[in-house]
């Protein structure tokens, strides 16, 4: 019976139940659903397929292989952690949206054709935005709107690409597409996925949306959207050279923003882009090792980035603030959260024995093997940078720096948050110490050993020097001061002048239409007035007469058609 | 206008003839120029003339608005009803042939009935329009004019 029900079934059913059940029951459902779903995924065998007929097409809403299984486990795990973390939330909007969001993410990774994939893709956008809006602040509503517009754009571009691909090649299969042939549809699909993967320039929805989400919402958000994009990239564009470059840029540029940013959750947003950069590079290199590395890194990233977002969410939940300039000194009040944050920071910085280390090493080793030395250097720089801002800056400013604001009323995070964080931290360490558990799940057989002398040494040295640099900069006061500020990213371009232009366009369309109507009336009226003198000299033509203007349009259209037809005959 | 004797007398002389002529046109409709539409308008004209001379209130005593509304509905019903009856009798909708033993007799009956329906409907709708406009309270003059 289990196998007859597609993988996203339990989560979706959970979402529906959460819609109707009372608050506490909904919370229970949101914990139980991922567990059941996880068990369900565990008993799935590779090669299973579900098909339905729709739109006259044979659709495959579910198809199981190694890659999708891995992501299936991952997403159910993330959903479980998220559900535990948000146990205390009694907001139906969030509960339903979160489960629906997880279900659609699972739907994407198990989709066997592009149309089902697109459907799940759009549902992800629609559901996830509520996690931002649910914070119900002015900023979050604006951010959510921008978020959903960009996600909608991503969906539209993807749809256009999928349709074109179907028209030209007659296939809807989810499989390697590649941009080597220069097909327009391949570029369109890549663009659609790229927006979701937060490619440079399109990344603003992430750094704009996540910090404005609810404390728990950000945890959910960090787990799914970008990972789904990485999954699609790994499916459709492995070995695409362009991605190596894009990924390298993604790994590097957020460092600068992250260092000067004050909102710690936005710092995490930037570091997320940087981590996705590693994955994109891995996909772009395209060798078995590289793809393994990318996928493994995605897996780990969900855990440690989730952990970091959880710890910041806990801080936000307890203090109501996430600005680096207004935090500090929380380690004594929230020791458990601080410890978890440190574990997460260590993982993201790829300390040996923490989960990030293994997967990041895989990607970097693959880059070297394929002789992308420059890229390797960029990644190296990026690793150092990550340690700098995510590994040190976040724990330091939140927990260890001298308190800027009184911390008297602060207490440790609620028990469910601690449980979720503890579990995530435990997993981070487990997969760091015993990477074999993860290897067994990877799409390609692997013989990579992360714990050889070179990797460990190189990484440790790098981290030490990076830490030194931070300390030195702090010491000498050269480090950018933590001030509450707004840093301009490219989204300024479309948020300020763009929005103005948009408003202008809207109002001017009607105005221009009115002018045209008025103008044609004017011309006609001028002719007629000379002939008839039937109306007064002033003001007659200056007014807008909607009823009459339609008649003018009728006349224009009719004569237009007649001219066209007569020209033909 | 009720005190204009000339108008009242002429009106009283004319109106019966107008109504009778309306009936003639109505009855003549199935084999010559005429028919329900024209007849309806003529009958309505007669009644409207009465209204012009004696006032709307008097006319409404003769033909109450309720009755007019009902008659308009009845007219349409007669028309559609004939169609339905022909349907029931096995012909097509408005296939008058089915109304009588021979098709040509059926045609006569059918056309006569339908024209009657049309006549009733048209007369009452015309009258209804007259009532609708004439029974409005006079608007304080020149509201929009200056």
């Amino acid at each position: 019976m289990l196998v007859e029900w597609p993988p996203f079934g339990f989560l979706l059913a959970g979402a529906v139940l959460a819609l109707v059940l009372p608050g506490r029951a909904a919370a229970i459902v949101s914990i139980v659903a991922p567990v059941l779903g996880f068990v369900h995924v565990a008993v799935l065998t590779e090669g299973t397929e579900w098909t339905i007929r729709l739109l006259g097409l044979e659709l495959v809403p579910g198809r199981v292989d190694r890659l999708s299984l891995l992501f299936g486990y991952l997403f159910h795990l993330a959903a479980f952690l998220g559900a535990v973390y948000s146990w205390h939330v009694r907001d139906r909007v969030q509960q339903v949206a979160a489960l629906g969001y997880a279900a659609s993410a699972v739907g994407v990774v198990f989709a066997g054709d592009m149309l089902s994939l697109f459907v799940a893709w759009e549902l992800m956008a629609v559901t996830s935005v509520f996690l931002i809006w649910a914070r119900r602040t002015r900023a979050s509503i604006g951010a959510g709107l921008r978020y959903v517009l960009l996600q909608g754009l991503s969906g539209l571009v993807l749809l256009a690409g999928v349709l074109m691909r179907n028209a030209e090649t007659g296939t809807l299969a989810v499989g390697p597409i590649g941009i080597e042939d220069g097909e327009v549809f391949a570029w369109l699909i890549l663009a659609g996925v790229g927006i979701k993967a937060a490619f440079p320039g399109a990344h603003v929805w992430l750094t704009d949306g996540y910090p404005n989400a609810t404390p728990t919402g950000a945890v959910w958000l960090s787990a799914f959207t970008t990972k789904v994009a990485v999954y699609v990239l790994a499916r459709c564009y492995p070995g695409t050279e362009l991605l190596v470059v894009v990924g390298a840029v993604m790994a590097a540029f957020p460092i600068f923003y992250a260092v000067i940013e004050n909102d710690l959750r936005r710092v995490l947003g930037y570091s997320m882009i940087n981590q996705i950069g590693f994955m994109v590079v891995g996909v772009g290199i395209g060798t078995e090792l590289a793809v393994n590395g990318a996928v493994a890194h995605a897996f780990n990233d969900v855990l440690f980035k989730g952990l970091l977002f959880m710890s910041m969410g806990a801080v936000l939940h307890v203090t109501g603030r996430t600005g680096g300039a207004s935090l500090g000194g929380l380690a004594r009040k929230m020791p458990f959260t601080a410890a978890c944050c440190v574990v997460g920071a260590a993982s993201i910085s790829a300390f040996p024995l923490f989960s990030g280390f293994v997967s990041k090493s895989m990607v970097m080793a693959a880059a070297l093997e394929e002789h992308h030395e420059v890229v390797w250097l960029v990644l190296l720089f990026a690793s150092a940078g990550v340690f700098h801002h995510a590994g040190i800056k976040i724990p330091y400013f939140a927990f260890f720096a001298p308190a800027r604001v009184s911390t008297d009323h602060v207490r440790e995070a609620p028990w469910n948050m601690r449980w979720a964080m503890g579990l995530a931290a435990f997993l981070c360490i487990t997969f760091g110490v015993r990477p074999g558990y993860l290897y067994a799940l990877l799409p390609f057989p692997t013989a990579f050993t992360a714990y050889d002398a070179t990797h460990v040494l190189a990484q440790t040295q790098l981290l030490c020097f990076s830490a030194l640099a931070f300390a030195w900069l702090r010491w000498t006061g050269l480090y950018p001061a933590e001030v509450p500020s707004t840093n301009l990213d490219v989204d300024w371009l479309w948020r300020v002048p763009g929005l103005r232009g948009w408003r202008l366009a809207g109002t001017s369309v009607e105005r221009v239409a009115g002018k045209i109507r008025g103008g044609s009336r004017n011309a006609l009226g001028a002719i007629l007035r000379g002939l008839t003198r039937s109306h007064g000299p002033h003001g007659v033509l200056a007014r807008t007469w909607p009823t009459a203007s339609v008649m003018v349009w009728v006349a224009v259209l009719l004569s237009g058609y007649l001219l066209l037809y007569f020209a033909r005959i | 206008m009720t005190d204009h004797v000339v108008l009242r007398v002429i009106g009283k002389l004319l109106i019966p003839f107008i109504l009778a002529y309306g009936l003639y046109v109505q009855a003549h409709g199935d084999f010559g120029p005429g028919g329900g539409f024209q007849a309806g308008v003529i009958v309505a004209a007669g009644l409207i003339l009465y209204g012009l001379i004696h006032g709307v209130a008097a006319t409404q005593r003769v033909v109450p608005p309720r009755l007019v509304e009902a008659l308009a509905a009845v007219g349409v019903l007669i028309y559609a009803g004939v169609g339905v009856v022909t349907l029931v009798l096995g012909g097509n909708f408005l296939g008058y042939g089915a109304l009588d033993h021979s098709p040509s007799h059926g045609q006569h009956t059918g056309v006569f009935l339908v024209e009657l329906g049309v006549g009733v409907a048209v007369a009452s709708v015309m009258l209804a329009i007259f009532y609708a406009f004439a029974s409005r309270k006079p608007i304080a003059s020149g509201g929009g004019r200056r």
């Binding site: 909607p546 003018v552 | 409005r136 929009g144």
Partner: protein, 119 residues
């Protein structure tokens, strides 16, 4: 084939244009109704004049005869319907106008627009 040979067409065109022009140019809703009437009348003449057969009699047929001797009755019938439509339109239009006048105290379009739609 002189221009005058088509005098009926010219009449139709003049009436039609006059009607449309009134609809376009006048500010008064009432006059627009008049314009519409004129416009519809032109169409009626258009149909009727096309039914004309030169020198033919009215189509009142008593015994079987050559159809070419009679004018085409169909357009007349059609126009009877069109006239009904026209009357109904006029009645509805005037009915609405009376109520507009009650509500606004005017039937001038620009005044009404200023009253209500520009606010």
């Amino acid at each position: 084939m002189s221009i005058l040979a088509h005098y009926n067409d010219w009449a139709v065109i003049v009436l039609m244009m006059a009607g449309l022009y009134i609809v376009i140019s006048t500010r008064s809703f009432l006059k627009k109704v008049v314009g519409l009437n004129l416009f519809q009348t032109s169409v009626i003449i258009f149909y009727i004049s096309m039914a004309n057969v030169t020198g033919a009699a009215a189509p009142i047929v008593t015994e079987p005869v050559d159809a070419a001797d009679y004018a085409n009755p169909l357009p007349h019938v059609l126009m009877l319907t069109a006239i009904v439509v026209g009357v109904a339109t006029t009645a509805v239009g005037l009915g609405i106008l009376v109520r507009i006048h009650e509500a606004y105290g005017t039937v001038e379009e620009d005044e009404i627009v200023r009253h209500d739609f520009d606010s």
